[in-house]
Every structure is written in structure tokens, then in C-alpha cells.
């Protein structure tokens, strides 16, 4: 019979019903968006990293640099988004060096999709790729299985529904940079507030034609923790010094040497 | 030859100091001693002919076919070491077949020539192989019309109006030049007769040996673009014409003489090649 074997399916169902639960697949919650505007493109992300129900990092960075003017927002398995963007970023730099040309967004996207397709979805990277190159500003996304989409505004991750709701209601053609940044940040905030997998702060990266990319780390911090009423830091000298001794572990010699000019 | 004792003739992958590859030159020698083969390109197709020397009286007449078909629309004839030719044709068939299976159309003849040329040339580059001991003349009709190529042991593969190789090539080339020098291009029907004549004339220097004549053609009208053998009355007429032209009437050519092996003759109950010129697979 062609295809996969499902001989153990019934056995596993039986074991699950008995007692031992099936191993849980880890999935990571995220909200990422990309927005095009007049003269450029930007991407934004939340900064929550989760391991199951636990917040693993309250301020992680989900915006990755592929090349100076091509950036990428990652959702899915954190290790995979970082590894795959680092790999393609490295190859893009080598390619740019050997061709003596500015790297293009389509090149990065094609390399990403071919790599991800080769791994048939086992690399769990869902990315929004954006950047400016000699052919203009570009905004695209790539899914773990290797499919790609193009758009004026995109969202990905568990919070993408909340973010898309904001984008669908407020995006229009010819947004200014500032309008686009606040729209993207609002979309991410929608994820932060309404999606359990997303939270903490908003990171933004703005890429304008003819300008260096502006990485705005923690562009919004709507979740600053209240300072503790009492500090656990103890002032110097709180602990009394009972005795002090200094031991020479080696002999020190000094010598003056004249240096010829 | 100057190469004797120098050691530069022992390996394919080593040049002599004056820039020659002796192994290839020896392969050319093998060709120069082979039977005469020719090819003619016409406005409406191509014609191939070869002289088949009767090396033994025990050989069954017309059974040992020399001209081969690479693809339905491409024929091939060669002089030199015959098994090398069969091997090359086999390679050509693989290329034609793989092209067709991927692209669902017959391989263009120039592309086939290119691939076969590269394959032969590769056999002049490595120490572990020897060059092909043949010069092949092949061609046929594709969507761009008729094509004719000659492929040498070095891998050189050039397009020709008329090509000749083997022992009688000098005579054959001289005759082909006369035939093809005319203003109007030849038709395949005429070229069949001329091809027979050329082979008969090229055989003049080798008169003491008996031979059989084999002709094949690709014609837009005559064979619907396919490569087929010339048989039956058409072949007899060509031989008749050749004999008259070369005034070799002194050959004994009575068809009813069973012992006569002097020249090519045709029987209608041919086994290897049937009346349509198709090769029967046994």
C-alpha cells in the first residue's frame, strides 16, 4: 500500500483513552504583521515567547535581519525561525558579495521557500519577509511548507486574526510612514491584548526606499511592570565584615625598560 | 609516424608537445580503412548509402544491415569499427528517447548532433577510455527541415550538404561535389540514384572485392519524414543507374544467377528489411 502506515493508530487511541496522554506538540504563539506604505514597507511583532502555558521570555526579539535592508518577522517554532533566517541571511550575504549587487527580497524569499519546501513543513517557520532593494519595496510571506503570498498588508501567527481585523478595517492605499507605523503597532497590540500566545511589547522595523532600515526595538511598551514597593537589593555594608586577609599567590617584580623611539 | 617511441600516443589525456592527440589520430586511421559511407542532403530530405564488402561467402546476403535508425526521423551510417558505431547509435537512441519522454516531441536533429558530439568528444578526454573508431554520418527531418551531420572521432560534428567517409571518401567527395554543385537542389528520389552511383564509383579502386549496396532515406513526401530503407524496385533502379553511369557493365549482374555475389541485388522476399523499408524485429 502506498503512503504512510497507520498500523499503530488504533493502539495509540486505546492507550490515550486508558491513561497516558499523548505527547503534546509545542506551538508558539505570536503576532506579526507587515504593512506597505508610500515609499516603503515595515514589519512589526510582539515580544512574548512561550513554552506551553509558561511565558519563557517577556521581551524576546522576533524581528530578524536577513540583510541590512531586508528584514523578517518570524512566527512558529522560535528555534526554526532564527536558524532559517540566519542561514538564508548568511547565504544572501555571500550571494551579494559574489554578484556585487544589493540583495533582493525575491531572492531571499525564493531561497527560504525552497529550503522550507525541501523540509516538507518540519522546519516550523512562518515568516513575513519585507525589505527595499533596487526594484523597490516588497512585502511577502512564507509558510512552513514552502508556500508564499504577496500582499499590501499581511499578518501571521496565533494573533494574526486579531491583527488582521485591525489591518482590514484601517489599511488603505497611500498610507504615510507614520500612519503605517501606528497601524502596525495597533495591529500588534490587538494581538497582545486578545491573543493568549502574544504579549508584552511591540517591535517595529521600517524600511524606506533609499534609506537605511530603522529598527525600533520596543517601539511600544504597554506592559511595563509596576515597580516593586519594596526592594530586594541590600545596601553595601549590610553584611558585617568580620575579618580580611590578602594572600599573594605569585611574586611580582617590577622593571623599568627604556624604549627606543 | 613521428610519435613512435615518444610515448605520447599511449594515453588519451596527454597531448604531444606539438599539440596533437595521437589516440584520436589512430582512431581516424581506423575510419580511413573502413567501408565507404555517404550522406546527401536534399531540399526534401536526406539519403544515406554504404558499401558493404562481402568478407565471407558464408554471410547471408542482405541479412547484415549496416545503416541504423536513431529515432523514427533520424538515420545513421558510419565507417570504421562497426561495434563502436552500434554503441554510439545506442547512445543516440537513449538521448532521443529521453528527450521525447520529457518534452513529448521528437528531438531536433541539431540537438541530437550536439549531444552525440559531446559524448564522442568526452571519449578523447579521459585516460580510461579510447576514442570512437568511427566517423558517423547521420541526419533526418525535423520541424526545421532536413539536416545532415558528420561526426568524427575527435568529436567534431559539422553540418554538410554531402558527406563521405571510409576508404573511398576521396572519390566519393569529388563525385558529391559535382552532384551538389548544381544550381537546383536535388530531390531525395534523384539523390538515391546518385548515392548508388557514388558508392559504385568509390568502389572502383577496390574492384576485386564483392559488395552489397545499402541505401536509406528520410523524405518529406516519400517516407512521411521517417527514416526508411530503400528496397525493391526503387533499389534495383538505383543500382541499374549506378552501373550504367560507372560503366561497370562488365560485372556479371544477371539476377537469376544464384552464385552471383558480384554486386548488390534485391529480392522481394527480403527478410531483414521488408518492402516498406521497415526493419523487422525478430
Amino acid at each position: 500500500m502506498a503512503g504512510l502506515s497507520f498500523d499503530n493508530y488504533q493502539r495509540n487511541q486505546f492507550l490515550t483513552s486508558k491513561n497516558s496522554a499523548q505527547p503534546k506538540a509545542t506551538s508558539t504563539g505570536t503576532t506579526i504583521v507587515g504593512v506597505k506604505f508610500e515609499g516603503g514597507v515595515l514589519i512589526a511583532a510582539d515580544t512574548r515567547s512561550t513554552q506551553g502555558p509558561i511565558v519563557a521570555d517577556k521581551n524576546c526579539a522576533k524581528l530578524h535581519r536577513i540583510s541590512p535592508r531586508i528584514w523578517c518577522a518570524g512566527a512558529g517554532t522560535a528555534a526554526d525561525t532564527e536558524a532559517v533566517t540566519a542561514l538564508i541571511g548568511s547565504n544572501i550575504e555571500l550571494h551579494s558579495l559574489s554578484t556585487r549587487r544589493q540583495p533582493r527580497v525575491v531572492t531571499a524569499l525564493q531561497m527560504l521557500k525552497q529550503h522550507l519546501f525541501e523540509y516538507q513543513g518540519h522546519i516550523g517557520a512562518y515568516l513575513i519577509v519585507a525589505g527595499v532593494d533596487p526594484t523597490g519595496p516588497h512585502l511577502m510571506s512564507v509558510q512552513a511548507h514552502g508556500s508564499t503570498d504577496v500582499g499590501y498588508y499581511l499578518s501571521l501567527g496565533s494573533g494574526s486574526l486579531a491583527a488582521m481585523a485591525v489591518l482590514e478595517s484601517r489599511w488603505r492605499e497611500g498610507l504615510t510612514k507614520d500612519e503605517a507605523v501606528s497601524l502596525a503597532a495597533d495591529a500588534i497590540e490587538a494581538g497582545i491584548w486578545n491573543d493568549l500566545g502574544s504579549g508584552s511589547n511591540v517591535d517595529v522595523c521600517v524600511m524606506e526606499v533609499g534609506k537605511d532600515a530603522a529598527y525600533l526595538r520596543n517601539y511600544r511598551t504597554p506592559n511595563v511592570r509596576e515597580p516593586k514597593q519594596q526592594s530586594y537589593k541590600f545596601a553595601r555594608g549590610t553584611t558585617a565584615v568580620l575579618k580580611e586577609s590578602i594572600i599573594n599567590v605569585c611574586d611580582i617584580e617590577e622593571q623599568e625598560v627604556e624604549i627606543q623611539a | 609516424m613521428t610519435s613512435i617511441g615518444t610515448g605520447y600516443d599511449l594515453s588519451n589525456s596527454v597531448f604531444s608537445p606539438d599539440g596533437r592527440n595521437f589516440q584520436v589520430e589512430y582512431a581516424v586511421k581506423a575510419v580511413e580503412n573502413g567501408a565507404t559511407s555517404i550522406g546527401i542532403k536534399c531540399s526534401d530530405g536526406v539519403v544515406f548509402a554504404v558499401e558493404k564488402l562481402i568478407t565471407s561467402k558464408l554471410l547471408v546476403p542482405r541479412k547484415n544491415v549496416k545503416i541504423q535508425t536513431i529515432d523514427r526521423h533520424v538515420g545513421c551510417v558510419y565507417s570504421g569499427i562497426i561495434p563502436d558505431g552500434r554503441y554510439l547509435v545506442n547512445k543516440g537512441r537513449e538521448e532521443a528517447s529521453s528527450f521525447k519522454s520529457l518534452y513529448s516531441r521528437p528531438i531536433p536533429v541539431p540537438s541530437l548532433a550536439d549531444r552525440m558530439g559531446q559524448y564522442v568528444a568526452a571519449h578523447t578526454l579521459y585516460n580510461s577510455v579510447r576514442p570512437f573508431g568511427i566517423t558517423a554520418i547521420f541526419g533526418g527531418i525535423d520541424s526545421d527541415g532536413p539536416h545532415l551531420y558528420m561526426l568524427e572521432p575527435s568529436g567534431t560534428c559539422w553540418g554538410y550538404k554531402g558527406a563521405a567517409t571510409g576508404k573511398g571518401r576521396q572519390t566519393a567527395k569529388a563525385e558529391l561535389e559535382k552532384i551538389l554543385d548544381k544550381e537546383t537542389e536535388l530531390t531525395t528520389e534523384e539523390a538515391i540514384k546518385q548515392a548508388a552511383k557514388v558508392i559504385y564509383m568509390a568502389h572502383e579502386d577496390n574492384k576485386d572485392k564483392d559488395f552489397e549496396l545499402e541505401i536509406s532515406w528520410c523524405s518529406l513526401e516519400g517516407t512521411k519524414g521517417l527514416h526508411k530503407f530503400v528496397t525493391g524496385q526503387q533499389l534495383e533502379d538505383a543500382i541499374e543507374f549506378a552501373k550504367k553511369e560507372t560503366s561497370v557493365a562488365d560485372f556479371n549482374d544477371s539476377d537469376d544467377d544464384e552464385d552471383d555475389n558480384n554486386d548488390a541485388n534485391v529480392s522481394s522476399d527480403d527478410e531483414a528489411v521488408d518492402r516498406d523499408g521497415d526493419i523487422n524485429i525478430e
Binding site: N8, Q10, K113, Q143, H145, D149 | -
Partner: protein, 216 residues
């Protein structure tokens, strides 16, 4: 056999799919390809303005259905083959393109879920041609082809209304009506209707919005 038979062509978990309505129709002056624009991941619409009509050569295009990743990868490979073919042998025929599609889809049938319609205009014969390549990798030369989940609803309509040698306007109209019905009855199809017209004049792209095609 112990166990459960599972359709191997079923999408992998979380895979993006083109639950689709696609078609290609030959007409007097060439051929027109058409498609909806919906891409789904389960119940979520991942892209509502997808372009499922993909160029593999100047005047040979394809409609993609099945897995987005698989069909994009296959189309990319075919485009590469046809580029190479063009520099070696000149402009390819639609049949040649279909043959390459078939080879890839057939030889990898266990790993792919791709239903593709190849359509092209031959500048030599001045004719449009359509080849349908469904799941197993077979090839079917047709006057018109429909495919994707939405096509199930329009077999009857298309069979009754298709005519040989229609004009461009007639064909566009026929396809607009067909795809409109497919989108109406198939939940996995939707968005805009995209079309690509291939004639001796060149390549023309058309888009029709819901307020137009829903009120025909």
C-alpha cells in the same frame, strides 16, 4: 489489514491549501485561464486575493489547485525547465510544458497534492490549448478544463454552455458565470475572479470583484 486506510493526498497538518475553483477555456483567438482568489488554512482564509494563475512561459500559464506549497514548487521547477528549453531549442509548445508538469507530478505522486491545468497559446499554429493534469499525474487534452473543489458544482453548467470557437467576450462571460456559481456553492472558493487571456496580441489580465460577478 489492521489499521485505517487514510487518503495519502490529504493535506499535512497546518498546510496551506487552495480549496479552489479553476478553469481554462480555448476560444477562437486563443485561451483564457480563470480562478478564484481564496487560500485557506483550515477554516481561516490565509489570503483573500491570491493569484492562482501562474506564468511558466511567456504564453504558457497554469491554474493551480491543491497544496499551495506543492503547486508553487512544481510551477517554479517547470518554469526553470522551460527557460532552459527556450535557450536550447526555442519556444516550447504547450504540450511540452504539460509533459514536464506531468513528469514531475507523476514521479512524485506520493508526495504531492497538486491538480494543475496547463494552458497556452501557440504563436506558430495560432491556437490555444488546454491540458488538465489531475492528482495522479495523468494528462488530458481538452477544449476546456475545470478543476478544484468548486468545479464539482459547475460540471453541468459548463457542459451545457460551452461552445467551440467562442469570441473573447463570450468566453469571458461564460467563465465569469461558471466561476461565479462555483464560488457561490463552494465554501473553499471565494474572493475575486482572476483571468489571464492568451492570444496572438499577448497576455491580458482581468479581475472581477464580487459585487459584479455575484449579481450577474
Amino acid at each position: 489489514m489492521n489499521g485505517i486506510q487514510v487518503d495519502i493526498n490529504h493535506l499535512k497538518k497546518g498546510e496551506v491549501s487552495l480549496g479552489t475553483s479553476i478553469m481554462a477555456v480555448t476560444f477562437k483567438d486563443g485561451v483564457i485561464l480563470g480562478a478564484d482568489s481564496r487560500t485557506t488554512t483550515g477554516a481561516y482564509i490565509a489570503n483573500r486575493v491570491t493569484d492562482k494563475l501562474t506564468r511558466v512561459h511567456d504564453k504558457i500559464w497554469c491554474c493551480r489547485s491543491g497544496s499551495a506549497a506543492d503547486t508553487q514548487a512544481v510551477a517554479d521547477i517547470v518554469q526553470y525547465h522551460l527557460d532552459l528549453y527556450t535557450s536550447n531549442y526555442g519556444t516550447p509548445s504547450t504540450e511540452t510544458a504539460a509533459s514536464i508538469f506531468k513528469t514531475i507530478c507523476y514521479e512524485n505522486k506520493d508526495g504531492l497534492s497538486a491538480g494543475i491545468i496547463v494552458a497556452g497559446f501557440d504563436d506558430k499554429t495560432k491556437k490555444g490549448e488546454v491540458f488538465s493534469i489531475p492528482l495522479g499525474g495523468s494528462v488530458h487534452k481538452q477544449d476546456y478544463a475545470i478543476a478544484g473543489s468548486g468545479s464539482a458544482f459547475i460540471y453541468g453548467y459548463c457542459d451545457k454552455n460551452y461552445k467551440h470557437d467562442m469570441s473573447k467576450d463570450e468566453t469571458v462571460n461564460f467563465m465569469k458565470h461558471s466561476l461565479s456559481q462555483a464560488i457561490k456553492w463552494d465554501g473553499s472558493s471565494g474572493g475575486v475572479i482572476r483571468m489571464v487571456v492568451l492570444t496572438k496580441e499577448g497576455v491580458e489580465r482581468l479581475v472581477f470583484y464580487p459585487d459584479e460577478y455575484e449579481n450577474l
